[in-house]
Structure formats: C-alpha cells, structure tokens
C-alpha cells in the first residue's frame, strides 16, 4: 500500500526565517516556529522513533499531543512530542530511546 507523502498547503508558511538542526545524525532545515515533526517530515523522513518490541517504525499520528507516537529525544531537554514542540536552531534530536536521564 502506498503511503501519502507530505505536501505543503500553498501559501502557508510559518516564517521566512530558517533554522538548522540535527535529526538522527542528519542535518535538516526547518522554519522557525515549525513543529519538529513537520520539519522532519518535510525532509522526507517519516520514522520519528522505533518500538522496543519488534523494532517497528513509529511517527506522526494524532498530531495533537495525545498519542505520543511521535516522541523524540532532544538533547538537554529529554523526550518531547515532536508534533507540538517547535524546532529551534542547533537542536540535536534523536529517536526517543527511553533514557532514565536527560
């Protein structure tokens, strides 16, 4: 089954200012104020974390902070929901891997 790719709605753009950040070792660019999940998906990446049982990919699901499927780890900050956390310059982001420390 083919999955829909991320498409921008014409004319919608949160900011003209761009920021760069790292996601799983890759350097990505997002718009200032954009959600982490949005910026990562615009870069063509859909996997935001992997499950502990079966090592399955997980990503953006409810999009409103309820389901926690999109959890990622932000260095120095801990685990956040990427659908509702703004991307910022210099963030170092990785799959949420359940560390007991920050």
């Amino acid at each position: 089954m083919s999955q829909p790719s991320v498409r921008l709605i014409e004319g919608v753009r949160p900011s003209d200012e761009t920021v760069s950040f790292m996601f799983e070792g890759e350097k990505l660019t997002g718009w200032k104020g954009e959600a982490i999940a949005s910026a990562v998906m615009r870069a063509g990446l859909r996997t935001l974390r992997r499950t502990r049982i079966g090592d399955e990919p997980r990503g953006y699901y409810c999009g409103m902070g309820l389901c926690w499927e999109c959890a990622v780890h932000v260095e120095g900050q801990g685990v956040v929901r990427s659908c509702s956390e703004p991307v910022r310059e210099g963030l170092v982001i990785s799959f949420a891997d359940g560390r007991w420390d920050k």
Partner: protein
C-alpha cells in the same frame, strides 16, 4: 448504531444449558470450563466482552498483595496462568520474575513482617530482605525504603493480549458470545430465562459474572448482594530502557508498579478516580493522581525523568469482606454468581473455572464455602 453489526439483530429463539451474564475474566473462564464439560453456553455482555475491569486493570498477578485467605487460591490460579499461553496458542505477555513488596515507614515495616509471616505459613515463597540485600538486587528502589519482602512468585500478564486470545478460545470451544446485549430482566423459577434488549434467551442455568454490576443482576431475582464501587486509576509512562525487573507492591496496598515489555512503566495502587455505575463516569481525579505518582517517585526516584503518557480509571466491585462471591444465589437452585475478588485479574481464571465446575458437576475441585454469595443476605443494609 453499534460497533457490532450483528448486535441490532433480534436473537434467534434458542435454549442453552447455561447463560453466562458478563464476559470478563470470570465469565469467559466459566464459559470455557462449561464448554469443555460439553454444555451449550451463551455469554451475554452489556458492552463488548472484556471491556471493563478485566481489560483496564494494570495486569498485576501479584501473590504478595492478596488477603491471607486468598493466598492458596492465588497460587492455584497461577497454575492456570502458567500454562495459559500454550492453551490459548497466543502471547499473553506473561512474566513471573518475582516482586518486591516495600515499606517506607517503620509502621509499614511491622505490617509487612506480620503479613509475610502469615503468607509464609500459607505456603507462599516470601523472604524478608535486609536493606543491603535490597540495594544489591534492586538498586532502582529508593534507599528511603526501610524494609522489603521478595517473592519469586509475583508476576504479571498483559490484559490487552489476554482478552482477545481468550475470546478466540471461548468461541472455538463452541460458546456463543453476544456483545452489546444488555440484560433487562432475569426470569427465575421453572421457566428460567434472560430478557435482553434483543429478545429473550432460555437457559437451564444462569451464571452472574458481572463484576461490579453483579449486585444489580442479583437484585432482579430478589437477592441482596452488597457490592461497593472502587474507581481505580492506572497511569502509563513513555517507553524507557528496561530497568525495573520485578513488580513492586506496597505494604499498605497503595502502589503497584511494573515495567512491561514495550518499556513502559504501569503505575497503579487503587487511587480513586471519579464515577459511579449510575452516572457511568470513570474519570481520572488529578488531585488523587498526584499522590499516586508522588509515591511512585519516592519509591523509584528514576521515574522522575519519564513522561506519563496516559492515565485512566476503571471500575472494581468490592464486597464487604473483600472476598469474592462464588456459588449459588441464596434461595435459588439454578442461578449462580462469581464476582468481585480483590485482585480479580489474578484470581479470575480460577474463580471462573470453579464456577464452571460447580454448574456442570455440582461440586468444585477447591473449597468455596468462604465465598458463599449468601453470607451477607441477612445483614441489615
């Protein structure tokens, strides 16, 4: 509109040997036992089966957190749990890695000692640990913990895996399951029957396995079955690296904690949410939840870094002496009940099986006198 396409249809006119009202863990094990004994069985549920206490509890199969009178029954029920995955042909998330029961004050430590001595005398493998032992074997438990006992017999299973697997086994054994079929009336006497919103079901015998709702069903046939309602809360954290290897319970019964296969920690302990059977609410009380989570942090400080992903609440029916009801309803010869064990998920397989034995053979493989549903019939309301 119902979630079950069939559930708007009128029921075919059919007579069964036994109608089981309530498709939780008691009812499904009762149905399975009856079907194995060659009886024709229907399970009737007001909602989808396996959607209340059996489904929303935290899955603990604790032996140390049971009343002394229930310890032998807990061990017998564990015999069923031990082979259940194989019997159902499914993964049910069963683990028996042992558990710690902890005390945070001297008073709790005294209680822990008294109860564990009793449990030991009843055949439970339970050991008192020194603080040094505890630091060595469970460094993730706070050093503020003043005393602990350990039993290798504590464990847990995953209720969301058990339910569907058990349902499939029950259906394979020839039992008919009617979801979304609320019972409106029970006809007692010579022409026994269950009147539901979809029509009437004839049965030679009736089993009430309706948990917290059992009192209402017993009242339909003139029996007083006192049951009070707890609205227990459970919380689950985000997935974390496997660290907590055992279940943790508390000397005063106010905390249960485990880290399950997907890395999440489940936190319970009977802290009370909001709701009644009448208003059909079961909601989280954040005022209470705060205390539940604070206690969890005091016991396992490492939890502080983890996000709580969800909290929920579910009903649990509680009898006046916290022992289950199991047996014939007083004044009846073909209406039975099994419901409301403190620790019903642990005890459910045995309780359901014993009720099935009683209905099909007139006797049980374990004594059930202390569970007589008539024991409060003459106590003033």
């Amino acid at each position: 509109m119902s979630a079950y396409p069939d559930s708007e249809r009128r029921l075919p006119s059919r007579a069964y040997d036994v109608a089981v009202i309530g498709g939780g863990i008691f009812g499904l094990f009762c149905a399975l036992t009856l079907a194995d004994a060659g009886k024709s069985v229907v399970v009737i549920d007001r909602g989808p089966v396996w959607s209340e206490a059996s489904a929303v509890n935290a899955g603990s199969l604790g032996v140390q957190n049971k009343l002394p009178a229930l310890v032998p029954y807990t061990l017998w029920s564990w015999e069923i749990w031990e082979t259940l995955a194989e019997r159902l042909g499914a993964d049910i998330g069963l683990r028996r890695d042992g558990g710690y029961k902890i005390a945070m004050t001297e008073a709790e430590a005294e209680r822990l000692d008294a109860v564990s001595m009793q449990q030991k005398a009843l055949g439970l493998d339970v050991r008192r640990l020194t603080q040094a032992d505890l630091r060595r074997t469970a460094p993730w438990i706070s050093s503020d913990c003043v005393a602990a006992t350990y039993s290798p017999q504590d464990g847990y299973a995953n209720p969301t895996l058990v339910g569907p697997a058990l349902r499939r086994a029950v259906e394979r054994s020839g039992v008919e399951i009617l979801d979304d079929t609320a019972v409106e009336e029970i006809r007692s006497g010579d022409r026994l029957g269950v009147v539901t919103r979809r029509g009437e079901i004839q049965a030679s015998k009736i089993a009430i396995t309706s948990g917290a709702w059992s009192g209402r069903l017993a009242a339909m046939v003139g029996v007083r079955l006192p049951i009070s309602l707890d609205v227990n809360m459970v919380s689950v954290t985000e997935s974390a690296r496997p660290t907590i290897e055992n279940i943790v319970t508390h000397a005063r019964g106010i905390l249960t904690l485990k880290q399950v296969a997907n890395g999440s920690c489940l936190i319970g302990g009977g802290w009370q949410g909001i709701g009644t059977l009448e208003n059909q609410r079961k909601e989280v009380s954040y005022d209470q939840l705060v205390h539940n989570l604070r206690l969890a942090l005091r016991v396992i400080p490492g939890l502080e870094r983890l996000n709580v992903v969800r909290s929920w609440a579910g009903y649990e029916g509680v009898t006046p002496d916290s022992l289950p009801y199991l047996g014939l309803l007083p004044g009846h010869r073909n209406i039975y009940c099994a419901a409301c064990a403190r620790g019903g998920f642990t005890l459910g397989p045995l309780m359901g099986q014993l009720l099935g034995e009683l209905i099909s053979h007139g006797e049980t493989s374990k004594p059930i006198d202390i569970f007589n549903p008539g024991r409060f019939a003459h106590v003033a309301a």
